[in-house]
Structure formats: structure tokens, C-alpha cells
Symmetry: C2
Subunit: 155 residues, 2 copies
Amino acid sequence: MSVDPSREKFQAYLAQQGLRVTNQRLAIFDAALAQKEHFTAEQLLDRARTIDDSVSRATVYRTLPLMTESHVLREVDIGSGEKYYLANSSRGTQVAQVVCVDCDKIFEISAPFMEWYGSTVSQKLGLKPISQRLQVSAQCIAYRHNGRCPNRLKQ
Amino acid sequence: MSVDPSREKFQAYLAQQGLRVTNQRLAIFDAALAQKEHFTAEQLLDRARTIDDSVSRATVYRTLPLMTESHVLREVDIGSGEKYYLANSSRGTQVAQVVCVDCDKIFEISAPFMEWYGSTVSQKLGLKPISQRLQVSAQCIAYRHNGRCPNRLKQ
DNA sequence: CTGCCTGCAAACTCTTTGCACGAAT
DNA sequence: ATTCGTGCAAAGAGTTTGCAGGCAG
């Protein structure tokens, strides 16, 4: 299988910033890209350590901003205390998040109108829009039936 | 001037939950309702103490959930570390927040389509929508011209 | 007198940072 | 050599909680 193109993107970003491509940064990058769902810093640390067990929590936290600034990852804050991250797909930033109120599972769904709306609203206020995010809180089917989610983590 | 109707709403909520209407809770409530802009827990503490100087930080944090659950306040998390609160106006929950990337000032603007969109999107996923929130990050005019906001707090 | 409510301070969670060592140029 | 990167542990911010005393019903 071929090299993920975003790996090159990340390396190019590091080079452009005068930063080094270290084993730890690559391990964290690879661990991040291997996740199919949203993940936390702690989960990323665990996974990165399976690739390079010298990776520390500090380096994960120092690398996350590099990956978001280079648009390799997106940061998603659902207001649950910890931040979530997800590899940036090619579809861009026009995604809404639907979050289960019980288990905090995050579903993403395309929301192409958001960008237009962000502009409209910002310009009414005399501001220049940078980005916009729509978050919907919802109950999943299982929660409505049983009063709890199958994959609930809390409590 | 007459008593704010939401004061009764709050007292009714407390009664219904079997909770007592204490001086501290009322001081915190009045302090919250007196704010015209979004405020933090710490700002609320300061203001509540001007009404009743026995109010403690712990009681503020214990009272905030009571006010949000009774829909007297809305919680707004812009992902800046601390949570913001705002007295719930009568217009309901169909508001978008436009947040300045530099000073974190929050502008609110009515967004009546959001509720419809929350439903549409949730139902595509087989979920029952509870609430939705659109947040737009933007730069204010001053920031674009001077590279900083007049009322910036950070750094 | 029983139980809710409080302030205080300690604990907690997530994240950031100072420092000295180690690796790359 | 010099600079950058790292792990460790401590610090930091915001929030929550255990506890003993206080006040209300």
C-alpha cells in the first residue's frame, strides 16, 4: 500500500516551519491517522506508544497543534472536558457533529450550507468569518428505549 | 420595577425539586440576571458577592447547573477553557454564536433555521435531536486592521 | 432534631511548561 | 557546538467534592 499523502503534507509543514521530522512525531502522526473515529489526546498517546514506546504525553500535546495547524487533523470540542480530534478528510470543514447526550459518541455529517451561513451571519455583524461549526445534541435509539447507550462511558 | 418572571420560574424549579430557596441561591440568580453579556463562573461569583458577600465559589458552581436545568440560563462553551453563561431570553434556543478569534467576545444572532436543520440531520442518523448550536469563529474589524482587538484579554 | 445547604480546602481532570538530558545538524 | 526535541514531573486553570458546622423546617 502506498504512503498516505497527508504524511507528506505533515512533513512538508514541519520542514517549512524549520521543525524536525522525528520518530516520535511520526509515530504520533501514524497513530492519529490510524484512528477511524474521533479520539482524545490520551487515546492517541496509547496508540502512539504501540508504535514507539518512547512517546510521552508531553510530546503528544506538543504535536497535536502541529497537526491541526497543518490541517492534518481537526479539533472537535463538544464541551465534555476533553478535546477530540479526527483526521481531516478531503471533504473540507463543512461538517456538522451530532453528539449523543449519553455516551458522547460523535457522528459527523456533511453540512454544505454552513459556510454560506457563517458568512451571512458574520457580515451582518461586520466580522470576517474564519470557520463555523454546527453541533447537534441528540439521543440515540438505544438510549430512548433503555435509558442508556450501549457504549456509554460516563458515570 | 416588577419582579423578573424568571425569578419565579427559578423558585418554582427549586420547590419542585425539593430544594430550598436560600439567600445565596437568590444572590447568584440576581447576579446572573443582571449581566447583559456572557459571563463566566468567576465573574458571576464576583457579582454575587456584591449582593451577598457570604457567597462562595462552591455554591456558584453548585447553583449554575440548577439555573441551566431550569432554563433560566444557557451554557455556552466556545472551547476556550472556561464556560460562559447567559440569561435565557424568550426567543428560545435558536441562536448562533459568533466568536472573535482574538478576544473571545461572543455575539449572538438569531438562527431560526437551526432547529429544522438539527432535526433533519439527526433523523438521517436515526437519532432524536435535543438541541443544536452553531458557532462561527470570526475576526472583528479592529483585529483585521491592527492585528489585535480593542478588548482582547489573552496573552 | 433531622436533613438540607454552606464555606473551606483539597482533590480532580485535562493541558501546559521548566528543566536538564539527548539527538540532529 | 549549537539548536531543537524530548521525557519527566511539577504547575496551571477550571471545576468538583468531602467534610464539619450552620441554619431551616
